[in-house]
Amino acid sequence: MGTIFFFVLAAVSVISAILIVAQKNAVASALYLIVTLCSQAMLYLLLGASFLAVIQIIVYAGAIMVLFLFVIMLLNLRRDEFGPDKKKIQRVLAFALGAVWLIQVVAVIKLGLSKMSLSPVTPEAALETGSVQTIGKSLFTEYLYPFEITSILLLVAILGSIVLAKKKI
């Protein structure tokens, strides 16, 4: 049952990810990105990480993508203004860099799998680590300083964007 779900979700997520870049229409691209993010959230759910799945939907699909879509709709791009670039060198470079990146990913996965041994995780243990309680506890004990520093970083980013956007405060 889980395997079937995994393959369906994986297929949806990969196909919609390809469609993000293959679409000429910016709004359609954004919508496919939302589909990808949601199917990834489902994959997290299959792994027992319910908190991560819900946060993925709230933050990425629910907040950030709404802003993306908002901006795209405001700009109201027409089809001909937004298409694949005609310059040939860009295409060649894109394919070359893509190939390099693919080799890197495959190499990292191969090396990583050979060097470390993954102990099989029971579904109960996965549910335990994925729960809100466990994540909350480790965030506020073990990783307290990184957590607080991240929040300060975000606060600074918010203030910075306000200063940049508003001429008169």
């Binding site: 709004v27 939302i34 699909a61 802003l67 879509l69 908002f70 709709m73």
Partner: protein
């Protein structure tokens, strides 16, 4: 019988029954709204179809189904058709985590009166509510009409702004309850004075205001301000597609009422009457409030709405969290 099979069977039966009851409540909410609005404005409301106009929702449904279904020539056809579904589905599935009664025993089986008691129930509600905005946004964009686009953009801006305070207003309750499961939150409010409305009055007010704004109801119904935008994001929609948007709106109203009942009024808990009846009574009180507000309050201006959301509600929600934290430590 195989326990997995039994579990799936019970869940499917629960889903089917609840969806039907939910849709029944929605259709009669339209009747109640028209009747109440009528009486508040010294009219009679629907009265010709059946006794007290009780068959009016069915007549409305049949009328919508038989209307011509128009797709504008320049519209993006696929997205235009998908948009009503995208606003309808989230409104429907939020109810899955709301408990509407205690355990009951039927045919020797213990059945929880909730479709799914997940340990991130409250976050699930926020996640699904956040997805609800896409239906409206896509409808506005796909219609290829100025009014629709403006309505869609307004609605997105409004929902993003109020979602922040909406979520933050609940944090106080999370701190007191120490759980994200709605079943646990209901169980904590086991007597009259233990209801969270008394411990979190500020959060209750913020939640209610944001809930009304989230559902795009009066006095926050700017996305469909008819004097400025014809009908906002659903200007170009006709027939059952239009019907689905209005069903989604009513479903969201019911959801906000049900969540408010669960979080602040102790859910299904109450003396003498059966739990389900208590739940429906408390929920109806909120539904009445929604209609009452629509009948009495004029619409906000757009800049007032944004200012109110960011400069009044957001600081108040943060203040509420601070006060709750200080009181919990003392």
């Amino acid at each position: 019988m195989n326990p997995t099979f039994l579990f799936i069977l019970i869940t499917v039966i629960k889903v089917v029954v609840i969806v039907h009851i939910f849709m029944f409540i929605l259709s009669y909410l339209t009747w109640a709204e028209r009747k109440l609005l009528g009486h508040i404005q010294a009219r009679l409301g629907p009265k010709n179809v059946g006794p007290f106009g009780l068959l009016q929702p069915i007549a409305d449904g049949i009328k919508l189904l038989f209307k011509e279904d128009i797709i504008p020539a320049q519209a993006n056809k696929i997205l235009f058709v998908i948009a009503p579904v995208l606003s309808f589905i989230p409104a429907l599935i939020v109810f899955a985590v709301i408990p509407f009664g205690d355990k009951v025993t039927l045919f020797g089986q213990e059945i929880d009166l909730i479709i799914s008691d997940i340990n991130v129930g409250l976050l699930y509600i926020f996640a699904i509510t956040a997805l609800g905005v896409y239906g409206i946004a896509i409808a506005g964009w796909a219609s290829n009409s100025k009014y629709s686009l403006l309505g869609g953009l307004r609605s997105m801006a409004q929902m993003i702004s109020y979602e922040v305070s909406y979520t933050l207003s609940i944090v106080g309750i999370l701190m007191l309850a120490g759980s994200l499961s709605l079943v646990d939150i209901v169980k904590m409010q086991d007597s009259f004075w233990h209801m969270f409305i008394f411990k979190q009055p500020l959060a209750f007010l913020i939640y209610l205001i944001c809930g009304i704004a989230e559902t795009n109801r009066a006095p926050f119904d700017l996305p469909e301000a008819e004097t400025e935008l014809v009908a906002g994001f659903h200007t170009e929609y006709s027939s059952m597609k239009f019907g689905m948007f209005s069903i989604a709106e009513y479903a969201n109203v019911v959801n906000v009422s049900a969540i408010a009942t669960t979080l602040f009024l102790g859910g299904w808990q109450g003396p003498y009457l059966p739990p389900v009846v208590w739940f429906l009574l408390k929920m109806s009180a909120f539904l009445f409030l929604f209609i009452w507000l629509r009948a009495t309050l004029p619409r906000f201006r757009y800049d007032q709405l944004m200012k109110f959301g960011w400069q009044v509600l957001l600081p108040l929600a943060l203040l509420n969290i601070l006060i709750t934290a200080v009181i919990m430590i003392i």
